[in-house]
Symmetry: none
Subunit: 200 residues, 2 copies
């Protein structure tokens, strides 16, 4: 029947870290702060997450599972900004983190970048791209309809956001300093703020 007590340290740490990230996505998530919040020692934290980067990756992955898979965009109880960010984060979550992110871009590279592009796989990639574009554009349309987004060229805005998402997702596959979590959040917010404030 126990579950609080029985919760492994790994889970406690992850819970704490995700809670802290939820409260302040720009937070630093230091070893000691997370360990304290989780009620474990720094040594234990390090045992489960050998590196600070590993912890941040786990948080990034965990967020995806928590965020509802169906369209958060319609949940009018939350600010438009938050909902759009949520949705974009979901897209980003598909890219994964660490090895998964590297494998994902590996696939894309081997299929669409390395070989001389044939008409066929050109079309295949364009379909994927268009799908992503369409999805983001849909979210913008929803926000437009409820007046949270000024009149404007939504497909242009979507293109902008998709470009930012691509930049962020390749950053996940490349080496990085341990602060990806905070910087990714910052950049995502910046992009969304631009779109929501743009009067063009």
């Amino acid at each position: 029947m126990e579950q609080k007590t029985g919760a492994g340290s790994r889970d406690k740490v992850l819970q704490a870290a995700m809670a802290m990230f939820g409260e302040n996505p720009g937070a630093r998530l230091s070893v000691r702060a997370v360990a304290a919040r989780a009620g474990v020692s720094t040594g234990s934290l390090r045992y489960h997450f050998p590196t600070q980067r590993a912890l941040q990756d786990a948080v990034l992955t965990g967020i995806y599972d928590v965020i509802t898979p169906d369209d958060r965009i319609h949940d009018r109880s939350a600010p438009a900004r938050d909902r759009l960010i949520d949705c974009l984060r979901q897209v980003l979550a598909l890219a994964g983190v660490g090895e998964q992110a590297r494998a994902g871009w590996g696939e894309i590279f081997k299929t669409y970048i390395e070989p001389e592009p044939t008409d066929e796989n050109r079309a295949a990639y364009l379909a994927i791209e268009r799908e992503a574009q369409r999805r983001v554009e849909h979210w913008l349309t929803v926000l437009s309809n409820e007046g949270a987004l000024a009149e404007g060229d939504n497909s242009r805005r979507a293109r902008f956001l998709v470009t930012v998402l691509n930049g962020l997702s390749i950053a996940r596959a490349l080496p990085s300093e341990e602060s990806i979590l905070a910087t990714e959040t910052e950049t995502l917010h910046a992009a969304v703020d631009y779109v929501l404030d743009s009067r063009s």
Copy 2:
């Protein structure tokens, strides 16, 4: 006639910092390391450069004024926006287009994404990344100094712009419809507008 002896601490610090940056652009440039190399105390360093950020900005400005004195960014006859876009486009130009872009990303992929990252190439990539970041940040500093850019966190802004550049440059390597030129320009303008208008 004296100049070595008479060199003020400020200069000694700046010299040391620039030398260290020159030797290893990926270096951390910590207070103590720079102060030691300059032969002054950390307190003195802080007196002239109240913050670590201030020191790095000074180095950045110094370096690029030496290396590329005729950077387009200094051409005050043109609007800030145009100059910044110009500079960013130059970065993008290095990525090339078509086959060249594909080959470029191929190199990056094979070196930094595909293989399990060793400490060594991790560091190598981070140096490149930091260099790009610093370059963009330098441009922002120049615009800041002439009042074309509101007070704010320039390294954050630079991170945003670099992410957009990455997104745009990978788009150059991937299949795309024939309108890349226009859409790339749109997105680039959007990103720059965001930075120039941001009051945060």
